[in-house]
Symmetry: C2
Subunit: 387 residues, 2 copies
Amino acid sequence: MSAFGFQISAVAGLARRGTLTTAHGTVETPAFMPVGTNATVKAMTPDALRETGAEMILANAYHLMLRPSAERVADLGGLHRFMNWPGPILTDSGGFQVMSLAKLRSIDNDGVTFRSHIDGSEHRLTPERAVQIQHLLDADVTMVFDECTPYPASAEQTATSMRLSMRWAERSKSAFTARRGYALFGIVQGGLYPELRAESATTLRKIGFDGYAVGGLAVGEGRETMLRVLDGTVPELPMDKPRYLMGVGRPDDILGAVKRGIDLFDCVLPTRSGRTAQAFTRTAMLNLRNAKHATETTPLDPDCRCTACRGFSRAYIHHLCKADEILAAILLTTHNLTFYQDFVRTLREGIAAGDFDSAIAGFPIAQETPSQGEATVPDSEDVMEKI
Amino acid sequence: MSAFGFQISAVAGLARRGTLTTAHGTVETPAFMPVGTNATVKAMTPDALRETGAEMILANAYHLMLRPSAERVADLGGLHRFMNWPGPILTDSGGFQVMSLAKLRSIDNDGVTFRSHIDGSEHRLTPERAVQIQHLLDADVTMVFDECTPYPASAEQTATSMRLSMRWAERSKSAFTARRGYALFGIVQGGLYPELRAESATTLRKIGFDGYAVGGLAVGEGRETMLRVLDGTVPELPMDKPRYLMGVGRPDDILGAVKRGIDLFDCVLPTRSGRTAQAFTRTAMLNLRNAKHATETTPLDPDCRCTACRGFSRAYIHHLCKADEILAAILLTTHNLTFYQDFVRTLREGIAAGDFDSAIAGFPIAQETPSQGEATVPDSEDVMEKI
């Protein structure tokens, strides 16, 4: 088994082209991780997921601790075997979902007590337990347990919350069992306050992690603000470690973040859009419920190589959407995930070729002022809040 | 393009092993046709469907005339291209669905006026229009338009209804445009009355069809009664034409009907069961929501070759069912359809080997008094009534 590692092979400005090596395989970066909340990327078989080009996925410790439980997954051989995904898996620690989904939260310095959104049962998460859960799941990348700072929040609230997260990050590090090929990532907090972000990054660097995530963004602050925070935060992170922007996002968000030196992304946008009749194309977002598609013999995106675009017309997918057929979700999710993988592959090729901007000329939807088509690309925060 | 035809290669008692040749390929019989009501077999891609072993599918003229309309499908190149299923397709004429689904039906000697169950719009079906619709869809096998006799019905009601259907069968024949590789099937009606079934079969033979269906069964009469009707009806049909038992059914129903000389079947049972956490195995029916499966590392059916059984445990599929994940429907439908195809392939092999009964010894679930397992195999009529 290979040691966990990150090799940068090319740079273009602040953007980096790299390779992440994990216990379950390698990942070319910049990379987009489809979200497999309940140990399944919704509407996708693992084979179909692999065919989109996805190399690494995200699963949610919060959901899996509640159902079927981390111990059950461990008994069944770990998450890779359980869901039949042999590739790398990163697990979210649960901090974000405790805030956004759980009921009757009670936070203290030691951790969080909450009730399950599924059955109301009481549970407790601490940094130690969150790390243990991810170990039981056999996640290649474990995320530290953090408090998700509310937005908006005052500087004082934000500082208090960030410093609690930093103490939890240190406890997460102590609780993590180092294993060859496995990694622990810290999460920078600090809201929209540059000095708090810097303090957080400095604290995490002192503790020392295998990778660094930027958390607490895409929660309603808007794209420009998010990118400004990255402008201030990313330079505070180690050059030689992978950087992960959590829960982001739209193609233009990803483009902006890659330009600022981010390597890893995850978002429910392509999968959730696929279940609500939305398709990404290189030029615009389509709403397949729109009657104009009823007679179109063209595929979703003529430039796409996916199984949905190779075999089916917009007219057929429109029909499936109108009839609420499961195949609509299957085909649109397949397409959207393929679109995302093709987009980040294009970013990787652009960085490698040293010609970043012309590489993404084929994706006008990702430009600063894209033609949004008939449907609006949802803001990352719109989808984040419902995870 | 081959002419439509049916070649019998072996017999075992009344059971026949044959090959159906159509404009879009051949079908080994006895055959089971998965149901693709809205031009999609629910939860299946065409590639995955082909991988189950399915060679021919059924689509519903009633549903497709309402949405997206037969003319739209024709404009888009026909049903095969529309849904990307290059193989043979049989279409139900709509008679059964008009009775079971449509609102405000009004029957006269010429046809039926009804309101759509989707949007309440008014439509009319006559034998001529039903045949035209199936022509527009480009169905390999067109079914005559018939009246679905209510159950129970008196001998007089049944006779009146059957004779109306026979007049409509003759009009369907006149309206049908013969094309190389395409076929028109008549439908025997007559309820539970042997002399009416015989009259119906005789009338249809005089008109002359490429194949003969037995309709009006699996509507609540029970398995033994259904098989008794087949005992009386099948001998009245031509030996050299394919015979199709509409809407049937459970494995034991299919076994009983094959033994009585039926060649073709369709039923929503494997697909609908797959969307309600039910799995067929060779010995029993499983309810994957049952907590006992939560820790089982075995596949759904250890003897199954399908992608669901090759890659996933019962414990994982139980988890997917509990979490209402689309992948549960995908995996269970894939498995159930594979089970049905393996079952009819075993019947074919048994007939060809002249050892019918020992061939199906590996499918105790299909025996006369099967061990039903934790879930009961639904009666065919339970699923028919909701199509």
